[in-house]
């Protein structure tokens, strides 16, 4: 039972953590050049101004801010990384639609499972040729202690989609899940 509870908490937390995730391993900063299609994205294309590099930097920065926000338990700060019409697909709860719902979902997660360590590691960011849409895939590990004093930890993977809206990059869809099979 205690194991089950822990699992639950872990899952919930995990979910929260990964959320914004488009981040990457803590530490480095945003623009570590990436490969993938960025180059392509960077082109001039019709509407997009050299968006490839911008997209990467933006997603990496989002990830970094997500990580910091999660560690601080600041749901509002993390929610601000999402577009007004974004969707957050957190494990164990229905889809949160829109920034307000996303903030509520994040607040619940941060409250029930505070994280003392969060590491988000981006594996690859791929940008559309037009540079307005990009997605990030990576992994995360995190740990913390619940309000009840129980330690938890989890690792899993995330998929985040970012979009340039009015010259600003925002997360428009974000989800993650644990690598661990459901607890018994």
């Amino acid at each position: 039972m205690s194991g089950s509870l822990r699992w639950l908490v872990t899952t919930v937390l995990t979910v929260a953590v990964v959320n914004g995730c488009q981040t990457r391993e803590a530490g480095e900063d945003a623009d570590a050049p990436t490969d993938t299609s960025s180059a392509a994205g960077g082109m001039d294309e019709g509407g997009g101004e050299a968006a490839g590099p911008d997209a990467r930097a933006a997603l990496l920065e989002s990830a970094d801010r997500w990580e910091k926000g999660a560690l601080a338990g600041d749901a509002a700060a993390v929610a601000s990384l999402y577009s007004e019409d974004a969707v957050l697909l957190a494990p164990g709860v229905p889809t949160a639609k829109g920034r307000a719902q996303i903030e509520s979902a994040l607040a619940a997660m941060f409250e029930s499972a505070p994280a003392t360590s969060v590491s988000i590691d981006s594996d690859a960011i791929t940008v559309s040729e037009s540079g307005d849409l990009a997605y990030d895939v990576g992994t995360y590990t995190m740990a913390g202690t619940t309000p009840a004093g129980e330690e938890w930890q989890d690792r899993g993977k995330y998929l985040s989609v970012g979009r340039r809206v009015g010259g600003e990059w925002k997360l428009v869809a974000d989800t993650w899940n644990s690598d661990a099979p459901p607890a018994m």
């Binding site: 164990g92 229905p94 993650w176 899940n177 459901p182 018994m184």
Partner: protein, 192 residues
């Protein structure tokens, strides 16, 4: 306890189901499995698809929205059939699948293996509802998210059901749309 097992099984299945998911609702019986899908693919006239005609692509190219709907439906049918090879064929060679409860599967081979595990006991019903696809301005990259619900019976005869959501990204490469990243998770809290 037995409930736990049932839940676990359900969770795993759910995961599997949700996987390709960019599909859409439909709960009809697994019926026309593979071929209906086959019929759609080339012609690109997404019968079941709601989208308008391809203002974008010329000839046989599906636009992003049509492509997502088409992929989702083919995914749904392959999942109901428990056909891991058919499911894997919907993914790009370098695609990644992020199934709950197991590490990321990278590449079509690993994705097929993952589906073979996930769908050992395929669902008997699967409904996928798209929340609406979004396509890049350049038209070659699109993502779709939505919800799923499914149910079935485990090998040991235990009934299970689950509902959750999915997020899938697809890309048009050489005129052919394939999933490049796909994941899902259950709305249910982990079983006790």
């Amino acid at each position: 306890m037995r409930h736990s097992i049932g839940l676990t099984a359900a969770a795993i299945l759910v995961l599997a189901l949700a996987a390709g998911c960019q599909t859409r609702e439909t709960d009809e019986a697994a019926a026309g499995t593979g071929d209906a899908a086959g019929a759609l693919e080339e012609g690109g006239d997404a019968a079941a698809v709601a989208t308008g005609d391809g203002a974008a692509g010329g000839a046989s190219a599906l636009d992003g929205e049509e492509a997502m709907a088409d992929l989702n439906e083919r995914w749904r049918q392959a999942a109901l059939a428990g056909d891991a090879a058919a499911l894997a064929s919907l993914y790009a060679e370098d695609a990644v699948l992020l199934p709950p409860g197991m590490p990321t599967a990278e590449g079509r081979g690993a994705i097929q293996s993952a589906f073979a595990t996930i769908f050992q006991s395929p669902p008997s019903s699967l409904t996928i509802t798209s929340g609406g696809a979004t396509v890049s301005e350049s038209g070659e990259l699109a993502f779709d998210h939505g919800t799923y619900s499914m149910s079935g019976t485990t090998a040991s005869g235990e009934a299970w059901q689950d509902s959750g959501k999915f997020l899938g990204v697809a890309r048009n490469s050489g005129g052919e749309w394939k999933y490049v990243a796909d994941t899902w998770n259950s709305d249910a809290a982990p079983a006790m």
